[in-house]
């Protein structure tokens, strides 16, 4: 759905979707596959999000974690952190949720064609990046090196471990995973994800980097990428803020002048670098 088409329908109207599949990911998070109630399709771009409504409980912005080339369903990966996400987590397969979207500016995957691609993710930040990874791997021949650097708190909190293993098994993709705290049986890196940047083997002069994770991780991650020689204009970040409308009318997601919902959530870092340094902006 392009912006012009969205403008025709009332963007505040919700569209019912049926939960076709629920898969537990981590102790506190799960992935849902949604299909349009009564048929139809759903197109989106990597990095975009939906406003997800559950009957009576409310609505929250959730990034889309599925494959952008598959318009038959929407995939969301959700952490149970608040009243609405708890309520969504209590739903079962066959039940319905409401969807408004997709909203927001995407990861510029196509614009990055021709360069090396570095994806730096922390914790659940891998979810909004997964559609970009799918798209990049589907267009693997259009990139130089593709590097995925992922950090989680502990081995048991690694999101999408099977896919990470699968991607790591490819000869054309470098995947490095680290944990803050090791557990028995862990043989991989230990330490913060930013440490993986050094020696990742990309050409900093011709690299696009996508970064998503907790804000503190993004700050240090960007620092590491800059130290490695990537220009600020080649680094993209995805932000999270309170949102009530998703279309720039409710005001909640303002981050300085930008509205995270419509000017973001993906921002080119050089355009928001100053905002990153202001507390409680």
């Amino acid at each position: 759905m392009n912006v012009a088409m969205q403008a025709q329908a009332d963007p505040m109207d919700i569209r019912p979707f049926r939960i076709e599949k629920i898969r537990k990911e981590l102790a506190d998070s799960f992935t849902m596959e949604l299909v349009p109630e009564g048929g139809g399709s759903f197109s989106f771009k990597p990095g975009q999000f939906n406003m997800l409504y559950t009957f009576g409980a409310g609505e929250v912005p959730i990034s889309i974690s599925g494959d952008p080339s598959d318009s038959s369903k929407i995939v969301h990966t959700i952490r149970r952190v608040g009243a609405v996400t708890q309520a969504i987590g209590n739903l079962s397969e066959g039940m319905a949720v409401g969807i408004r979207g997709p909203f927001g500016k995407p990861w510029p995957v196509e614009e990055a064609f021709g360069s090396d691609l570095v994806i730096l993710a922390g914790g659940l930040g891998l979810a909004p990046l997964r559609p970009a990874i799918y798209m990049a791997l589907a267009n693997r021949h259009r990139f130089g090196k593709v590097v995925l650097l992922y950090g989680s708190r502990s081995p048991s909190e690694i999101l999408f471990p099977k896919e990470l293993e699968k991607w790591r098994g490819r000869f054309d993709t470098k995947v490095r995973v680290t944990v803050d705290r090791a557990e028995p049986g862990w043989g991989g890196h230990v330490g913060v994800v930013t440490k993986l940047v050094k020696g990742a083997g990309f050409d900093p002069m011709h690299t696009t980097a996508f970064v998503c994770g907790p804000e503190i991780m993004m700050r240090y991650g960007i620092q590491a990428l800059e130290q490695a020689g990537i220009d600020r204009s080649g680094i993209y970040v995805s932000m999270e803020r309170n949102m009530k409308c998703g279309i720039g009318l409710c005001g909640h997601c303002q981050w300085g002048a930008p509205f995270v919902c419509k000017d973001g959530p993906v921002f080119r870092f050089d355009e928001v670098a100053d905002a990153f340094t202001v507390r409680e902006l």
């Binding site: 109207d13 609505e59 309170n242 303002q254 419509k262 409680e280």
Partner: protein, 369 residues
Amino acid sequence: MANSQAVIDRRDLGTLFTLLTEEGYQVIGPRAEDGAILYAPVSGPDDLPRGMGDEEEGGHYRLSNRNDAQLFGHTKAVQGLKAHLYPARQKLWSAEKAGHGFRVVKDSTPQPRYAFIGVRACELAAMFIQDKVFEGGPYTDKGYAERRKNSFIAVVTCNHAGNACFCASQKTGPDVSEGFDLKLAEILDGSRHVFLAEAGSEKGRAVLERLPKQAAEEGDKNAAAAQIDAAAKGQKRAMIAGVADLLAANLESPHWEDVAKRCMSCGNCTMVCPTCFCSTVEDTTDLSGLKAERSRKWDSCFSIDYSYIHGGSVRNTGASRYRQWMTHKLSHWVKQFGHSGCVGCGRCIIWCPVGIDITAEAKAIGKGA
């Protein structure tokens, strides 16, 4: 449009109300109620605040007696017209459980058609600003757009300034040059009580055509111009020039902490501001749990909830919340919508319980920088 100017006698003003009502408008005008001037339904000139004035200062508002027969002798209503164009609470839709899912029923209440009488320059400027917010981007608020398109606007120009007014420095008043259907200037000279009227649109011309009137005299035109002049010159406050850039460069000014010591984070300023547009949605169910509803209601950037994301609020301190309000209004708004978000009406000053003055705070930040 000088040739469409005419003079309407005070005794014929009732005809305007009758005509607008006949046209299907609900007429909204200033009324003295609960010790304040409010915009509310008015059925004729008798409902207007005859002989009433208003005293205003930081944290102070009182009605006063003018001891004259002016119908629009006050400076401005407590609130502009945003409550009519963008209601404080509006039902968006309801939903009913159906099988494993639910069915959504859109609220299809028709939007009202308002005729606003007594609109001030700052209030009209606020409408232009909200037009940009609600209709100027990729997404439109359909309810606002419909109400706005359906409305009839009869401006009454100011003949004096209130103590909190600073529209002249914001270049939003006190004169009005466009965007109205009718523009009236109230002229009371001894026993002569008339309105100099000018149409600003086809809708306005059609109404003016049907009103009992006389040709405008040079003296009336001069009197109206003198009123505007007095309203501009009488302004005691002014917004400093270059405030947008000043604030953008001072996000870390220690002065935000200073304001925070006085600011109670009550949000009054955001409620009375004619351009503040923030809203939240409220989802509820009935006791059976079978019916749900969604409403949209005004929200304020001064609440902790406003910036809440999992793990806590982004803006925990009063300083950051005041900074958000003031920098958005005067600085970020320019980047977002090409215009300042402040019309200089001074309502945020009047209705601040501790009298925080946005013009004074801007100056203080300028000095500290």
